[in-house]
């Protein structure tokens, strides 16, 4: 097992390196001078050259990449052009907030999705199955930024029971697990949970249907096992794949939170990306995307390892 993990980590390294190259190149596909947002329009040639040197934009690309990646490995992602603060400190603060939102949303989505999926898979082609499948298709088809708006309309504007924006009272960005903060989490987390719910429902439904049609289930029933006993066997067989799907979904939510964070003004990485894009703050954009993408690569690795550990049928190659 240890050898397997080691080999997986080794396989991951080239992917991680290639991901960094893509993130690095992003700044260079950007039209115009990356310094245009900090320099005054009437800046002298001398000042321009000086700034260019300071940010290292005067060197050849491969050298720039080597310097950038060398610093990134040590946790230095440069300075935000707009605020002057280090990118690392900005991203760390934001990642924490996005993480809370994404983890809670994944849990809600997984619990609801497994429930609907099991019910639908068990009672195939019944009205329960049709209802659960409809919910699942609606879940994967809904533009979640719109769903967020609708929830705000119902729960904040109409009923006035939950706050519409922000992550805490008075727009504070520091999280705490008390009711004043949690009530800010309910709407964005529910909105975000809809996508993993739909996907987990579809996956679990297919898995349960597949498992129930296998011969060992008949054998269990013939042995005299009750419904509950058979159910436990089905859960055990469906768990590794479902958990893997959940892990990947967590990664998608972490990276794709920008739309929901914009709707709810949630102070996470999506909000940071939004600011970086519209202020043309390229180091911040580059750094945030690199952190999120590497996190996704790492998460995929963890998912693979956990799935292999849970399911002895998967070959460790």
């Amino acid at each position: 097992m240890l050898l397997y993990i080691l080999r997986r980590v080794l396989y991951m390294l080239p992917v991680a390196l290639a991901v960094s190259v893509v993130c690095f190149l992003l700044v260079h596909i950007a039209p115009g001078d990356p310094l245009v947002s900090v320099l005054p329009p009437d800046a002298s040639q001398q000042l321009q050259d000086q700034m260019r040197k300071e940010y290292g934009f005067d060197r050849p690309l491969p050298v720039q990449f080597a310097i950038w990646i060398g610093k990134a490995v040590q946790g230095d992602l440069g300075k935000s052009i707009a605020t002057g603060r280090t990118v690392t400190s900005e991203v760390t603060k934001a990642v924490g907030n996005t993480f809370i939102l994404a983890v809670v949303a994944t849990c809600i989505g997984f619990i609801l999705g497994s429930f609907f999926g099991f019910v639908a898979g068990y009672f195939r082609d019944s009205w329960i199955d049709k209802a659960a499948t409809t919910i699942a298709i609606a879940g994967v088809s809904v533009p979640h930024y719109w769903l967020g708006m609708v929830l705000v309309i119902v729960f904040s504007v109409w009923l006035g029971v939950l706050p519409a924006v922000g992550a805490g009272p008075g727009g504070s960005a520091d999280w705490a697990w008390d009711w004043a903060h949690i009530q800010h989490l309910i709407l964005p987390a529910t909105t975000m949970a809809v996508i993993p719910m739909g996907i987990v429902t579809r996956t679990v439904r297919a898995l349960v249907g597949d498992i129930l049609s296998q011969e060992f289930v008949d054998a269990l029933r013939a042995k005299g096992l009750t419904h509950g006993g058979v159910f436990l066997h089905v859960v055990k067989n469906a768990a590794p794949t479902s958990l893997a799907v959940m892990g990947v979904q967590l990664g998608y939510l972490l990276g794709g939170s920008i739309l929901i964070e914009t709707v709810f003004s949630w102070p996470g990485t999506g909000f940071l990306l939004n600011a970086a894009i519209f202020q043309r703050d390229l180091p911040l954009l580059q750094g945030t995307i690199l952190v999120l993408a590497l996190f996704f690569v790492g998460l995929n690795l963890v998912v693979d390892v956990v799935q292999t550990a849970l399911d002895p049928r998967i070959k460790r190659t």
């Binding site: 991901v19 993130c23 088809s141 930024y145 708006m149 309309i153 504007v157 109409w158 739309l259 914009t262």
Partner: protein, 294 residues
């Protein structure tokens, strides 16, 4: 001719119906798919022929009739934050929204199929090079990749088309590669080669006919995601610019109006939802209709 002979004759007639005719017949028998296709056609045709429908000017606003509720006389869907007719804007909005949502998938279908079929058919080093490059793009969550490219390139329709095309090429390439690899190893391809067919002929006659169907079905399942992402980019301000009617952008500019006239503000999103769910259901219907094993 005996009754048995007649039965056999009619049986062969039934069997002789072609694959695509069978698929078409199955699709027509599926009420969900037929309904979805009808709704999509209605929205698409309304968008295309919008100038001939006698609608109000979608660009002309009026300060005195801003944010009228749904059901106002003369404005069945109300008016937006600048007093423009919502019905006209929703129908005209379909033009850009459907264009920006569907075109990236068509582009990616063409480009991804070429990459995937070449990788799958040639194999070896070329396969390695193409598929490892694809793996790198799989290391990004799709929303993040779309926003990263769009954000770096800057706002605009062309840029969001480019970024969404790049997002959808890797998954289509992966599907095309795996389908092609499995078809390439079948006996009839060996038979064609043994009878002297060149690579180009084999791909054109034997591979394409067998792989395009599955790739196409997969591509249709991506349109729903593409619609949501394309409108999402506009919603963030990375796509179309005002005053152009586009569902995602309309949702963004109406966002501040949810305290005054919530249901008008929610309408553009409902359009995205309807189109996206119809494409998803249509894709599911197409998939099961083309599955000959059932």
């Amino acid at each position: 001719m005996s009754a048995a002979d007649a039965a056999i004759a009619s049986a062969t007639q039934v069997v002789s119906r072609g694959y695509w005719a069978t698929v078409g017949r199955r699709l027509l028998r599926d009420p969900v798919t037929v309904t979805c296709v009808a709704i999509l056609l209605l929205i698409l045709l309304a968008a295309i022929f919008a100038p001939y429908l006698g609608l109000a000017d979608p660009y002309r606003g009026s300060m005195i009739r801003r944010l009228r509720p749904i059901g106002t006389a003369g404005y069945p869907f109300g008016t937006d934050e600048l007093g423009r007719d919502m019905l006209a804007r929703l129908i005209y909005g379909g033009r850009l929204s459907l264009f920006v949502g569907i075109l990236p998938v068509i582009n990616a279908f063409v480009i991804g199929s070429i990459f995937g079929i070449v990788a799958g058919y040639v194999g070896g080093r070329i396969n390695m090079a193409i598929m490892r490059t694809v793996d790198v793009f799989f290391a990004f969550p799709s929303v993040l990749l779309a926003i990263a490219i769009s954000g770096a390139l800057g706002a605009g329709i062309l840029n969001s088309l480019v970024s969404l095309t790049i997002v959808f090429i890797p998954p289509i390439t992966r599907v095309a590669e795996s389908v092609t690899t499995s078809v390439r190893n079948l006996d009839f391809v060996d038979a064609a080669r043994a009878s002297g067919a060149g690579n180009f002929t084999i791909i054109r006659v034997h591979i394409l006919g067998n792989v395009l169907g599955p790739i196409f079905v997969y591509a249709t399942s991506l349109i729903s995601v593409s619609m949501i992402l394309a409108s999402g980019l506009s919603f963030l301000g990375l796509g179309t610019k005002p005053p152009e009617p586009e569902w995602g952008l309309m949702l963004n500019t109406l966002r501040t109006a949810i305290y005054i006239n919530p249901w008008v503000a929610a309408l553009p999103g409902a359009m995205i939802f309807v189109v996206s769910i119809c494409f998803n259901l249509m894709s599911d219907g197409l998939r099961s209709a083309m599955d000959v094993r059932r």
